[in-house]
């Protein structure tokens, strides 16, 4: 039964993650008083891109073409490692959080390499920022999950999330609140959402993620966009597991709650994007430091 | 009845602040000072209350001693204020040092705060509840801040700000220390009465008590001017009007010392007197050394006196920390220091008014320009350095004797060395001011208001050097005994 739920989760993640982007865009449109794009717009985009050929600049090498491929395979591994709320991941073992972090790191690494491979100054700038910010976001992520692992005594993601609220809310509430706050900031930063990055802007000077993939087209771009949606799903799932203190002990019900949670998070992101302004680039590291400090506090609190 | 010593100055102070008593302000000030002094005299003539374990306010031996000192000193300062404030009536004044014009603080605020200062200090002396004591000590800071900034110019504002911030922060730490004592006594003692605490001290948690005392010594030590928390003291003492400096040095520092003594009472009752006494001695020696270093090359005579206060607070801390005979000596020293330093600051006020500079090297020939003031200055120099015919000689010797009797040779040696350095540096700086030829023709009279109060204080100190009455010895021994000789 549990295995079934895990499989269903992966299938749903693969099929529904582009919808998350649609939900975010729809919420933003509502806030702005527009009708907005169709909810399924990303599916249409992906379909269109998959039917196009790619144009490669003559200055690029094989690195440029591997980037999207490695990216999507890495995030597929990540999806199978991440639990959704109380639903365990497809694969779970002690220390899988480190693999998760490194798989996401590999994805970033290849994207950065591909961006640098184009030799464009703009893409290089974006790559530089991406690396700088991830330098701060990654320890925060590991510290946050570390805090959860200390307070549950478990060392695999599924184990941590499965037993997080098992002893009642009171024992872990402060830690969970801190980790949730920290994860939310990391989620926004890692997925290039406002206030860190604006996915809709086309001003290369201030962009981070989008600027790195300017030169990709066709199938490559489809891979990149799909991978980004899946990555968003991974972080939403991590966040929901901490922020949603529910445990039903029926895997399918837990799965339903988790799914609902992921889409609520998407709506929350939409609200955040509609109500906040993008931070100055100078302030982004400060925000990430705050997230790291929150995670640190969570660790301290769990260690007491 | 005991409350009268708080209420008389408090009511008078609030009344003075009202705008319609313009003419009577100085009369009210003097009247309140006399009233306070007579109330204190009456209270002191009665036997001490037995150590009531749930009284808020009561008079015990250390409190009585410091209350009496405060009252007498305030009477002298109030008398001095009559003459001083008449000269300051004119609201726009020229700065003595840099020559710019500034406006004084409104007179009613100054006199009112002066009286409230007395009220809060009296409350410190009679508080038997550690929380109430803290409230009173913090209140002394707040009401004395306007006194320091009476001359509203940039230097006094700077001094006031440092005083306010550093002392408030320090005192907040002392409050934490008091909470720690309460935590140590949880389940053992109810309430924060000092006698209840000393009775139950043996059963208290020593870890909490030690932490509490460290916080108390940092907190009250800041207010008392113990090095290295003394930074505010020279600034505040040098920039405030001289009669305020006299009160700060002679009375306020004692109040903080009393707060520290209350902590020491609990510690020695808990059998931790070694620990707390050691800390007191350490900070005391440090204060003496720091003061000595800063006095060597001092060029401002009010700052010189301020550093001398740091030194003498160090001596008090050493005496209290060593306990026994040294503690009795420390009590006597508190009396001597308050009166001597009060006298010196009042005399310094006269010097500043006549010579219009605080620079030691620019003041020469005071004996020619202001004969009585000059005599008092030289006499004060002898008194403050502990030269023989004056009271400080006896008290410093008593503390030294206590240290040597207790086998604290190193403490005694460092103490003597610091005293010697301070004597030499003061001897280089203070007496030359009295002799020589005055730099400019200074035509000033010495009004009775300006010389009588320091003269009276000086005579008291001289008498204390020649003969200490048995009743005073008894009072000192009682006060030292209350701290608990360890």
């Amino acid at each position: 039964m549990i295995i079934l739920a895990s499989i269903i989760h992966v299938v749903l993640a693969l099929s529904l993650s582009p919808l998350l982007i649609g939900v975010i865009n729809r919420v933003k449109a509502k806030f702005a008083g527009r009708r907005g794009r169709p909810l399924l717009q990303l599916y249409y985009d992906l379909w269109k891109l998959l039917h196009k050929g790619a144009v490669y600049s003559t200055t690029t090498t094989w690195v440029f073409r591997t980037g999207p491929l490695v990216g999507i395979s890495a995030v597929l591994v990540a999806i199978s490692l991440v639990p959704l709320g109380r639903v365990p991941a497809l694969a779970a073992f002690d220390g899988d959080i480190i693999l998760l972090a490194y798989v996401l790191g590999l994805m970033r690494f290849m994207t950065v390499l591909a961006a640098l491979d184009t030799g464009s100054a703009f893409e290089g700038m974006g790559a530089g920022r991406e690396v700088q910010f991830s330098l701060l976001a990654e320890p925060a992520l590991l510290l946050g999950v570390g805090a959860l692992s200390i307070s549950t005594g478990d060392w695999s993601l599924s184990g941590i999330y499965g037993s997080l609220f098992a002893d009642g809310l009171a024992a872990v509430a402060p830690t969970a609140v801190m980790v949730a706050a920290s994860l939310l900031i990391i989620l926004l930063a890692e997925n290039s959402r406002i206030p860190v990055d604006d996915p809709n802007t086309h001003l290369e000077l201030t962009m981070i993620h989008e600027v790195m993939v300017l030169d990709h087209g066709g199938v490559d771009l489809a891979f990149i966009q799909y991978a980004a949606a899946l990555k968003l799903w991974v972080f939403c799932a991590l966040f929901v597991g901490v922020a949603l203190p529910l445990q039903m002990h029926w895997p399918l019900v837990d799965l339903a709650f988790g799914m609902a949670g992921v889409f609520i998070v998407a709506m929350v992101i939409g609200v955040i994007e509609s109500t906040m302004a993008r931070l100055r680039l100078l302030r982004v590291p400060q925000m990430l430091v705050v997230s790291a400090v929150l995670a640190m506090i969570a660790v301290l609190w769990a260690l007491r | 009845m005991l409350l009268a010593v708080v209420l008389i100055p408090a009511v008078a102070g609030l009344a003075v602040m009202a705008p319609f008593v313009k003419r009577l302000r100085l009369a009210v000030l003097l009247l309140a000072a006399v009233g306070h002094a007579s109330a204190v005299a009456w209270i002191c003539s009665r036997p001490l209350a037995d150590n009531n374990a749930d009284a808020w306010i009561a008079l015990d031996a250390p409190g009585r001693l410091f209350l009496a000192i405060t009252s007498i000193l305030f009477l002298a300062a109030a008398t001095y204020a009559i003459g001083y404030l008449r000269n300051e009536e004119n609201r726009t004044t020229k700065d003595a040092e840099e020559g710019f014009l500034f406006r004084n603080e409104p007179m009613n605020i100054f006199i009112g705060c002066l009286l409230l200062f007395l009220a809060t200090m009296s409350l410190v002396c009679i508080s038997q509840h550690l929380g109430l004591l803290w409230v009173a000590v913090e209140a002394t800071t707040l009401v004395s801040a306007p006194l320091i900034s009476f001359h509203r110019h940039h230097r006094s504002l700077e001094a006031t700000w440092k005083y306010l911030l550093i002392c408030s922060v320090g005192i907040a730490l002392a409050l934490l220390g008091i909470f720690f004592i309460a935590a140590a006594g949880q389940g053992v003692v109810h309430g924060m009465n000092i006698h209840a605490l000393t009775k139950a001290a043996g059963k208290m948690d020593p870890v909490w008590l030690k932490a509490a005392f460290i916080l108390l010594i940092v907190g009250y030590g800041t207010k008392m001017g113990l090095a290295p928390m003394h930074n505010w003291l020279p600034d505040a003492h040098s920039e405030s009007p001289s009669l305020v400096s006299a009160l700060l040095s002679g009375a306020l520092l004692n109040c903080a010392f009393l707060g520290l003594l209350r902590g020491q009472m609990v510690m020695s009752a808990a059998g931790l007197g070694e620990f707390s006494g050691g800390l007191l001695v350490l900070l005391g020696l440090l204060s003496m050394i720091v003061a000595a270093v800063f006095m060597i090359r001092q060029s401002d005579y009010k700052r010189l006196l301020a550093y001398s206060s740091v030194e003498h607070m160090g001596i008090l801390a050493i005496g209290a920390g060593l306990g026994g005979l040294a503690a009795t000596g420390a009590m006597l020293h508190a009396v001597n220091h308050s009166f001597t330093k009060g006298m010196l600051f009042l005399v310094a006020g006269n010097l500043l008014a006549a010579h219009r500079t605080k620079n030691i090297h620019e003041v020469r020939g005071v004996l020619t320009t202001l004969p009585i003031t000059g005599c008092l200055w030289v006499g004060g120099f002898l008194a403050i350095t502990g030269a023989p015919p004056f009271g400080m000689f006896i008290s410093e010797l008593t503390i030294l004797k206590g240290a040597l009797q207790g086998g604290h040779i190193v403490v005694g040696v460092v103490y003597l060395a610091a005293l010697a350095v301070i004597f030499i540096s003061m001897a280089r700086l203070m007496p030359p001011m009295a002799f020589g030829i005055p730099a400019a023709q200074i035509k000033t009279k010495e009004p009775l208001w300006a010389v009588a109060p320091p003269l009276a204080l000086g005579l008291v100190v001289l008498t204390m050097g020649l003969y200490v009455p048995e009743s005073l010895w008894n009072a000192l021994r009682a006060a030292a005994g209350a701290i608990g000789a360890n």
Binding site: L169, A170, A173, P174, V177, M178, Q286, V289, V290, V293, L294, M296, I297, L300, W301, L303, R304 | W56, H129, G131, L132, W134, V135, E138, A139, T141, L142, A145, P146, S149, R152, H153, H154, R155, L157, E158, A159, T160, W161, K162, S168, V169, A172, L173, L175, L176, F179, A182, A183, Q186, M192, D205, W208, A211, P234, D235, S238, E239, F294, Q298
Partner: protein, 215 residues
């Protein structure tokens, strides 16, 4: 220990971090006010088990009223009077302040350990958090230039001390509690006056430029 107390403690930690992170004086003032409300709430949440004494209610309400309403109002007036909206150049930058704050918090957990073991008070989290609040206040006092920000640091510290008092369930009589509160009120009032005068005399309130008096 109730979950409410735990969350309130967490909130206190967060306000401290916000204090360290923000350059806007108005935000810091708001922070101090929030802390006062948290302080009042902690008083209630700790005594939730026992019957709440009338004195506790009076103290909690007047704490919130004085530190949460009156003092912020006074401080905001002082802020407008001095015409400063931001602490422009602190001695320690904001990101580093926050990191130092995290280190300080860790330190407090370590320091508080021996005290906690011997403590009879049940609330184990209160001691390190109170300590952290005190250290945050002290750090702000030494790392910021503006006199007004230093007053805010002092208030933060004072709040920390009060959390301590509350956490140890020190049964201060009403009179003393009120005396402490009155002292803080008058203290900030006097500091506000001095800041006003400093601003008038110097046209700034940068305390590091108050450096005439020295040896």
């Amino acid at each position: 220990m109730s979950i409410l107390t735990d969350l309130l403690m967490m909130l206190l930690v967060l306000t401290n971090l916000r204090m360290l992170a923000s350059s806007r004086v108005a935000v810091c003032i708001q922070n101090v006010a929030i802390q006062a409300v948290v302080l009042g709430a902690i008083t209630f949440s700790l005594s939730a088990h026992a019957a709440i004494a009338a004195g506790v209610i009076v103290v909690a309400i007047s704490t919130v009223a004085v530190k949460g309403l009156v003092l912020p109002w006074l401080l905001r007036r002082a802020m407008k009077g001095a015409g400063i909206g931001r602490e422009i150049e602190p001695f320690v930058g904001y990101a580093s302040s926050v990191l130092i704050g995290a280190v300080l918090l860790g330190l407090c957990f370590v320091i508080a350990r021996p005290l906690r073991d011997t403590s009879h008070a049940g609330a184990s989290m209160l001691i390190p958090v109170a300590m952290f609040t005190i250290l945050t206040g002290l750090f702000i006092i030494i790392s910021r230039r503006k006199a007004l920000t230093q007053v805010l640091g002092y208030l933060t510290m004072e709040n920390g001390v009060c959390v301590f008092g509350v956490s140890l369930a020190v049964e201060e009589p009403l009179l003393v509690e009120m005396g402490i509160l009155l002292d803080v009120l008058v203290g900030v009032f006097v500091m506000g006056i001095v800041i006003h005068q400093i601003n008038r005399e110097f046209d700034h309130i940068d305390t590091d430029r108050l450096s005439v008096l020295k040896d």
